[in-house]
């Protein structure tokens, strides 16, 4: 434990020393991963599928704010979808524009979640999103997370039906819209996942704010169990197929990632909790003070002044 805490302090010092570079690196990795994943999963536009494109766009994005990266990724996604079906491009484009206008105007700080949620779905650890959002964000953040889930299932729909969508010129255009919207909205797995994510976030947020010891750890455990329970109930009621092995591995890895986040952000020592009570003219105050764990990174320098082994015999 002590070793981990020292490592955390060292990482903090490292981040403090070169935060500009690390931030740019994180933005590059996020953007590169996004464009790379989009190319791998819905790379229908041959010109953009070139492996150099994600690298170049990633490098460009390392200088851009997260909002602009999201816009670039959305355009990139729409271009790929356009090669398959104009109808889906229109529907997704409208959805993204509506989110950008209605939500990002009011509460734009967490719009990157629209981007991150589908990526984590593709990395098979989407269950980490409700845990981290519940621990660090506000409840309103379930809106971009839900949009992210919706976008992932649209991408999945495009991927699974690419052949049909490209070759159905014979189908009437209005029938196409009915068909696409109907299949998108009646995707029960998506509805189950949405419910799991919203409930998971809510539970984590509520427990995290309780005045109990180890509230963050309990919140992570409760959020993980909530998601599992909702998915199993959905599996049972709607008969949606969720393979148990990847689900359990994904959930465990997500809980582990949330645990690491807790260690880095909320390291407190509950054994040294202090309680105090005082009053002023209007209120009585019952204060619980939990000290943060603080260690200083050891700065050991060994300087050899005189070494016996090198002494020459007289």
């Amino acid at each position: 434990m002590m070793g981990l805490l020292v490592m955390k302090e060292r990482l903090k010092v490292l981040y403090g020393r070169c935060d500009g570079f690390i931030n740019a690196l994180i933005r590059f990795l996020l953007a590169f991963l996004t464009f790379f994943m989009l190319n791998q999963n819905i790379g229908y536009m041959a010109k953009l599928k070139n492996p150099v494109v994600p690298v170049v766009l990633g490098l460009l994005c390392s200088f851009l704010p997260y909002g602009l990266i999201s816009v670039l990724a959305a355009v990139f996604m729409l271009v790929h979808i356009y090669s398959v079906s104009f109808e889906i491009t229109l529907i997704v484009g409208v959805l993204l524009l509506v989110i950008a206008t209605l939500y990002c105007g009011l509460h734009g700080g967490d719009s990157f979640l629209i981007l991150v949620t589908p990526i984590l779905f593709l990395l098979k650890i989407p269950y980490v999103v409700p845990l981290l959002v519940g621990l660090s964000g506000s409840l309103v953040s379930v809106i971009p997370v839900s949009c992210g889930v919706f976008i992932y299932y649209i991408l999945l729909y495009v991927k699974q039906n690419a052949g049909v969508l490209t070759n159905d010129a014979s189908v009437d255009i209005t029938q196409k819209y009915v068909q696409i919207i109907h299949s998108m909205l009646s995707n029960q797995l998506m509805l189950v996942m949405l419910t799991a994510f919203i409930l998971g976030t809510l539970i984590v947020y509520m427990i995290r704010n309780l005045s109990i010891d180890y509230s963050w750890i309990f919140a992570i455990i409760a959020g993980t169990i909530t998601q599992l329970v909702v998915i199993f109930i959905g599996d049972f009621v709607f008969n949606v197929s969720v393979s148990v092995g990847p689900l359990l591995i994904g959930v465990l890895v997500s809980a582990l990632v949330a645990g690491i986040y807790d260690f880095f952000v909320f390291a407190v020592d509950y054994t040294r909790t202090e309680y105090t009570q005082f009053e002023d003219d209007d209120y009585y105050y019952y204060v619980k003070a939990v000290p943060k764990i603080a260690v200083s990174a050891p700065d050991v320098k060994v300087q050899k002044i005189n070494s016996r082994s090198h002494r020459t015999p007289r």
């Binding site: 206008t101 209605l102 029938q175 009915v178």
Partner: protein, 144 residues
């Protein structure tokens, strides 16, 4: 010899950091009364909502094209039109209320931030006054 004034440097650094972190939200607030500030964003929200509603309507019309074509009477189309207007107004009312709550809170928060900022500036001003007086006294002491 030029002496570094540690207190002043700390104060100026904290002011500069405050400006960098909160300035974007705080300074625009100073130019408006609360009602004007909130109204400005409500007007923006009105246009944003109307634009989004029209976009969604386009998709809905495409989705329900068969249904709309099969409506035989003008009355049923008029009824649909009125229902669309009712949905628009209800949604607009909800969205404008949310906007009003969010920006009223944001204004209050920014006002509090502005007070802290002004207090920091006053402290800095006092530091300058104190420094000037000390300099004058030192000058006076040498000349007399």
């Amino acid at each position: 010899m030029l002496m570094l004034n540690e207190d002043k440097i700390k104060l100026m650094t904290s002011i500069s950091l405050f400006e960098q972190k909160e300035g974007k939200h705080i300074f625009p607030v100073n130019r408006y009364f609360k009602s004007d500030y909130v109204s400005k964003y409500m007007i923006r929200s009105f246009f944003g909502y109307t634009f989004s509603y029209l976009l969604v309507m386009v998709i809905w019309v495409l989705y329900s094209m068969d249904f709309l074509i099969n409506q035989s009477s003008i009355d049923s189309l008029t009824f649909l039109g009125w229902r669309a207007v009712a949905v628009y107004i209800a949604g607009l009312a909800v969205y404008l209320t949310v906007t009003w709550i969010v920006y009223a809170k944001r204004y209050d928060y920014a006002r509090r931030g502005l007070k802290v900022y002004m207090a920091k500036l006053r402290r800095l001003e006092k530091r300058y006054e104190f420094q000037d007086k000390t300099k004058e006294l030192e000058k006076g002491g040498r000349t007399s």
